[in-house]
Each structure stands twice: as C-alpha cells, then as structure tokens.
C-alpha cells in the first residue's frame, strides 16, 4: 500500500460528466492493498465507468463481504453509502437493501473465497432471484488476507507459492452462474481496463443480476510460475470471446461490423450492448451455446473473456414479486397502516 494520499488539486481542463462531477469525485479513500494488486485496477475501472455513466453518488450503494476484495468498496465513490458485511453474506444484505429501496444502484464486490466457498449459497440465490445488481467477483484463486491458501477457484494442477499443487477441481463462477440460470454473465481481467469498463457499464445497465468475474492477480501470494491466476498466465491464455460496447440510451451505434459476428442486445432502459464475437458459431444469448463454448476453450487451456451470456428478458426480483414501483421505504405510514376501523372489522371474524 501507499502511504501518501493523492493531493486534491483541481487541474484546469479536467473533464466533468453530465452531473458536473470530476472523475476524482468518484474516488474513495486510499487503498490499503498491496502495490500492484489487481483489485486496485478494478477499483479504477469502477471509478471510470461510474463517472462516465454519470451516476449520482448518493444513488449508489456498495456492498461487500470479507477478504481483500471486500475492502475495495471503501476505495471508490466516497459519496455513496457502503456496507462491508460478514464473510460470504453480501448478497443477502444487497437483497434486503434492494427490497427496501429498489431505486438504488447496487454494486456488490466479492472474491473467490467469499462467493465460491463460504458464500456459495448466497451467490447462487442472488442469481436465482435475479437481484438487480452488479455482482463483481475479484478472482485471484487464493486467500490473501490469511496468507496464501488455495481458494475454490484455484485450477487443478496449479501450484501454491511454495510449490504445493492444488489437487481439487476448481469452481468456475462463470459456468456455474450460467448453469444456475443467470441473466448476465461476463468475465474480464483486471489488466484489461478497456474491456472491464464496458462490461461494468453493461452490467449496471442490465436489469437483473449481472455477474462479472474478473481475474485479478494477487501479486503477493499467487503471481508466480505455476499459478494460473498470475498476470503472465492470464495475459497469455485469455481469449476474448466477445468485445462488448456499451451504448447509452441517448447514444448511437456508429461502428460498422461484418454480419454474423455482431449482435446488439437492447436493454429495457433504451441502452444497448453491442457484442462483437470472435467465433460466429458462438451465441451468447443461448445457454447451451455459452456453456459449450466455455468447455471447448477450457479444453484448449484458454480463459474466455467478455460478455458470455445474456438474457435481458428474464424478470428481476421485484418484477417476480410484483412489488410496487415506488421504493418501499418511500411509502408514508398512512399508506402502510390499515387503521383502527380495519382492525375492528377484521376481528369480527375472530369470534
């Protein structure tokens, strides 16, 4: 970590977004993670994406569980309320928060230990409910804060820092999420800012649970030879299955693409995601195609990245429940309380 905070100087010519805010206004407190940590790059991508989307800081909530990844909500958008919950339980707190106020934009930051081990159940059920949030997994294959144990996403055969191999299967959050019925599944790499920013934007705009698995190397415990979550390994083996461009509602699709390689997914708020595919046989709107594609590239030893599956029509939690459009915490007591007369009438049937 660095001990020197960036000075707050308003440089002339800095760009402001629609709300008149600087990118700096989307930063948080100083990171206490190790220098070079992939998580800090993800934080930077979040800052950029949220600034570019002109999201009002007070409309955002940031939630997390426990672990290195879960510290990061403190490092972006200081003007948003944050909730650093208990280990593996971020999705349930997000569910309650979103149940109480559906207008909030919800970003949950989790890690591979947080979501694939202790919180595996909650991870699955946030997806099952299609909770309207961006669900980020900062995936480094290792427990950093407790100094280097394998996590559930460590690949079989990959080695720990001192050389011991992992002999167990790895849980693949992307394939798992697609199999469980997720409505938006993407993977990226902390070292690919350009792709990451677009996927964050698309995930926020997606009306449901947007799972974004980000390979985010741990420089201290999992960046050695033999690791499959290192910078070097990921750079060498990542395979961009799709390139996503997020086009806001008011925007216009200008780029020209060859037919068959590009699909455009229109979201309910009027924005679109334009997907350029590496393989014309791959259809990210079909679950079987997405799972088949992932397995095929696993056999090739590749790590597919990009938007891997999307079903923008699957209803999100409140649509399923039929909850009022107005946030529940905005109803007045008079709108919620049936009153004395109703109670009296009700009790006539209790005799």
């Amino acid at each position: 970590m660095t001990y020197i905070a960036k000075p707050k100087i308003d440089l002339p010519g800095q760009k402001r977004n629609v709300l008149g805010l600087l990118q700096r206004d989307y930063e948080g407190s100083m990171s206490t993670l190790c220098a070079g940590c992939g998580h800090d790059s993800i934080t930077a991508a979040l800052v950029q994406a949220l600034w570019e989307l002109s999201i009002a800081p007070e409309k955002l909530i940031k939630l997390s569980g426990i672990g290195c990844s879960s510290k990061t909500p403190a490092y972006f958008v200081k003007g948003a309320h944050g909730f650093n919950s208990v280990h593996g339980r971020m999705p349930s707190v997000a569910t309650g928060a979103h149940a109480g106020n559906r207008d909030l934009i919800c970003i949950g930051v989790s890690g591979d230990g947080d979501s694939l081990s202790i919180g595996f159940g909650q991870f699955g059920h946030a997806i099952r409910r299609n909770l309207n949030m961006l669900y980020l997994i900062e995936n480094n294959g290792v427990y950093g804060l407790t100094k280097g144990q394998f996590s559930a996403s460590a690949d079989p055969g990959s080695t720990a820092k001192k050389g011991a191999p992992n002999l167990m299967q790895s849980i693949n959050p992307v394939a798992t999420a697609i199999a469980m019925g997720a409505s938006f599944v993407a993977r990226s790499f902390s070292g690919d800012r350009e792709q990451l920013v677009e996927l964050i934007k698309a995930g926020i705009a997606h009306p449901g649970c947007a799972l974004l698995d980000v390979i985010s190397p741990c420089v201290t415990f999992n960046d050695h030879e033999g690791s499959t979550k290192s910078y070097a390994y990921t750079r060498l083996h990542k395979h961009q299955a799709t390139a996503a461009d997020f086009v806001p509602a008011a925007g216009e699709i200008t780029a020209q693409y060859a037919e068959g390689e590009v699909i455009s997914v229109k979201l309910h708020d009027g924005s679109s995601i334009v997907l350029k595919k590496a393989d014309s046989d791959f259809d990210p709107t079909k679950r079987s195609s997405a799972l088949g594609y992932l397995e095929k590239h696993r056999d090739l030893g590749e790590i597919p990245t990009g938007l891997l599956f999307i079903d923008e029509d699957w209803p999100e939690m409140h649509a399923i429940y039929g909850t009022a459009a107005k946030p529940l915490n905005a109803f007045t007591f008079e709108e919620l309380n049936p009153g004395r007369e109703a109670l009296e009438k009700l009790q006539r049937e209790m005799r």
């Binding site: 939630l63 948003a80 208990v86 707190v93 309650g96 149940a99």
Partner: protein, 605 residues
Amino acid sequence: MPATQSRINDFVLKIATVNGTGSASANGLLMQALFRMGIPVTGKNMFPSNIQGLPTWYEIRASRNGYMARSGRVDIMVAMNAQTYQQDMNNVSPGGFLVYDSTWPRERSMTRNDITILGVPLSKLCNENFSVARMRILMKNVAYVGVLAALLDIDLDIVHALLEETFVAKPKLVEGNLQAIRMGYDYAKANFACPLPVHAEKMGDNAGQILIDGNAATGLGCVYAGATVGAWYPITPSTSVMDAFTHYCEMFRTDPDTGEKRYCIVQAEDELAAAGMVLGANWVGARAFTPTSGPGISLMSEFIGFAYYAEIPSVFIDVQRVGPSTGMPTRTQQCDLMLCAYASHGDTRHPMLFPANPGECFELTVKAFDLADRLQTPIFLMSDLDIGMNDWMVPQLEWDDSYRPDRGKVLGPADLDKMERFVRYTDTDGDGITYRTLPGEDSRGAYFVRGSGHNRQGGYTEDSKEYEDVMQRLLIKWETARKMVPPAVMTRAKKKTRLGILAYGSSDGAVVEARDQLAQQGIHTNYLRIRGFPFGTEVLDFLHDHDTVFVVEQNRDGQMKSLLKLETNNPADKLVSILHFNGMPITSDCVVNGVSQHLAAEAAA
C-alpha cells in the same frame, strides 16, 4: 359408578386423534362453540412433527373463572386413536369420562373402575351414512362433535351457525357436516344420560373478546408497525407468523387497481440470509423483520453481532420451541433466553420483549420496531409455540390511529444542510444513540457500515482508545434501553407477604391460577411478570423486597434465573426455580406444587 363432581363451565376436554385425519376443524368447532356460549375457553394443540399418521391431541379448557393455563386434569377424553388408547385412558382424572369408538371391541385389559367409559360406534355410523371413503374418515371427527354436544349440552344452533359461516362458499358441505353432528348427537341422547354432570352452560357472549393465535397477532403487528420487508426461512413454529403477515398484506397492502404490493416477502435460502436481508432493508430505512425459532437464531448469530456493533435496527421474532439442537420442533419451551440475550461472539447484549399472550404479541411487535429504530440495535420478540400456535381468548386488539412510528435519530438532506460535517458514531446528546442517514438521499450523509473496528467518526480503526470509546458508548446505550423496554407488571397479594413469584411469557396463565389456589391454602405471593430485558429498577426492587422469589420458567436450566443473577446484584440464594420443560404448556398444578413443596421442605429443615 365412580363419583363425579358436578363441574359446570369448569372442565378439560381432551381429544386424541391421528394426525392428518382432519380433526383440527372439528376441534376448532367445539372450542368456538363454547366461546360463543360466553364461556372463557382456551385450546392447546399438541401435535407431532409429522404430516400424517402420528398421534395428536387437542385440549380444550373451559373455565368460568377465566383461567387460561392448562390445569393438569382431564375430565372428558375422546380417544379416537387406537395407538394411544391405553395412555389416553390413563390420563383421565378420577371421576372423569372416556368416549371411544366402539365399532371394534376394546381389549379387555383396557378398563378403569374410577372413570365412566362411553362407547359410540362412530366408524359404523359413518360407514352406514356416508359412501365416499374420505368422507367417512372426516365425518367421524364431526360425529364426535355431535356426541360431545349432547354430553356437554353445547348449543346446537351455535354449531349450526358456525358451520354455515365456515362453509359460506360451499353450502353443500354444511349439509354433510350437520348430518354427521346430528348422527352423533342422537346416538348420545338415546344411549347416555345427557348432559353429563360435567357440562357447559351459556354464560353470556364473550363480548369484547376474540380467539386468536399469537403468530397471527404478531404478523398483524408487523403490518400495523409499517414493516414492508419480511425475510424468512420456513421453520416450525414460526412459519405462521409469515403466513399471517402475507395474508394481512394481501388484504391491506395490495393496490386494488394495479395489484402492486406495498411489501416484499423474501423466502431466503437459509436463516443466515434472512438475517442479512433484514439488516439490508433496515439500513436503507425500510422496516424489516424475520420470524424464526431457536435453530434459526443460532444461524443468525453472526449477523446479530454485526447489527449490534454496526448499530442497525432489526427485529427478530423468536417463536421458541424445544431444544437443544433440533429438539422437539412441535413442542413448547422458553429456552432461548441466554441465546438471544447475548447472541454472537464478542461483548454483545440485546433487548428482549416477552409477550404473555397473543394480545401482547400484537402490542409488543409494534413496540419492537419502535425500539429497534430508536436504539439502532437488534430487538428480540420472545414468543413461544404455546402462544404462537394455540388459540387464545384475549380482549379485542386495540389500535390508536394517532400512533406514528418512532423512526429514531435519522438525518435527511435538510438536517445535513445545517451541519458542517456528518459523522456516524458520535453521541451528541448523552443517550449513547448516534445519528444515522439513509442511503439514496444525500452524498453528504454517506458513511461506511462495517463490522470491523471503527471509531466515533465511522472510520476503520485498530487504535485501542478509539475501539474502547465506541464499546463504552454502547454500554451507555444499553442503559438507555433499560428505560425504554416495557416495564415488568406487578400484582400484589391480598395480604402482606415476603414471598414473590417472578415469571414471563406463556407461564403467566399458570402463575395467575396458582396464586389463587395458593392463597386459598393461606400462601400469599406477590407476582412480578417480566416483559422486557434489560431489567428495569422495578425488577431490582422486587428482588430486594422479598425473602424468597420463585422464578417460574419453561426450561431445564433456569435461564431467567441465570439472567437475574448475572444482571443484578441480589443474593442468589433467594431465587428458587420452578421449572417445567417437558414440551407441553406449563400447568397451574406445576406452580402450586413447586411453591408448596419448597415451603414444606423449608419448614421441615
């Protein structure tokens, strides 16, 4: 013929059946009929953790004096279950009556000389009168209602009216039910001297009273308190709290035009998640709660500690059942006091409220939400299976339309305008409670909720002094809670005494009746009923003012006694436990015996 006392409007009727045969509606019909005759009545359902096939009992007590507890006696037993026949016969009090299905011969060994045995060929009658197999089973239950109506002199017009109300949508069913009742009634009239010396007599109409179970009242309390988010995981015996909340929300909170719901009920993946959802919703300013039972509290404990330390309002409804572990899920106890009082690791303490009946479930549920918002901490409503799942006769629930919820110390944008800087955990007025803001309103009010060490500004800390500062303030808040939880209720003896009885929750009815019986024996006791934790000064005074205090509770280890020892400075030897923990609701006999045996032993010593 054994001697039978004449007992009018003062008897216990117990019905033994097989689970899943539809006896619940027949038993409810009997209870409601007695209620409409103006007789104070209670019903206790003793059911198995099973859907079909295991034995189940329903005990109805009619008490002209208005005693609501179980008494310990059985005046009339209806033995419909061959599996428990012997046991059921043994349970009849001397001079009592046993009604059984005499279609098949009873084993010769199954007899008693000190009770009257009345055989009614119920199966035979049903087989002769009904052709559909399922009807034959169901109507057997309705037929014993007819038999009892004749034996106990229950008003048939009331039974008729009740059936019509029940089957208002299916009038055809009224006919079949009436036929079965008439069948049983006529048989009893023709074959026995009706009514029995033990019978019912119209007393009035129980005006101003209702029949309700505690879980329904709790669910209704959540609606009236303005709760909008309910998160839960199904668990006996708390499930019907959420059933009731759902039902009343559908009734009162659904937009008649659009069908939009002004509530959100999430069936969570487990109790851990349910607790997390309650915290999340309360954090954003929606009133949220979870109903559960002991095993659920165990699972929720991590989040409970989080809510205590991060100071998030939350309401936990614990409908207690028999522990430890899975225990006996369909039996009652007051066994989660220690668990809830100090739930979670580290130094934690939580306010608890103890309703004694469904009426108080309604009232204290509303109170729980106000306390949670005011104190910004988890609040436990300590109900139990006896209160929650049994039908109780209570005065009509009252509501004051001028009530407005106490949302506690919440700052909005207008308040922030007047402040130089908002900080989350600084006590500005000495009550240990700090101001909070709600997400979604104003970036100047943004703060970071964390379960890790934090200072009075809300920042992360590992500094010893900053950590201690927050922990010490939480103790000040605890003292504020002491003045806010509902005070204990004192009932004085008619004569001056140094003997006290202390009880709480569903033990109340047994204590009330036991005190009257003890007074008749010349043993006078003052009674303090605890309604809240932490204990107020009235509890300290009560302990101080008595030489012996009997602590009546439904658990093995005397958990309330332990709390009193831990939380007060009174000499432990003046506390005498009277414990009942077999899973059935406590009887008045248990309290009478506990007190008199202790006093006798003391006199002998």
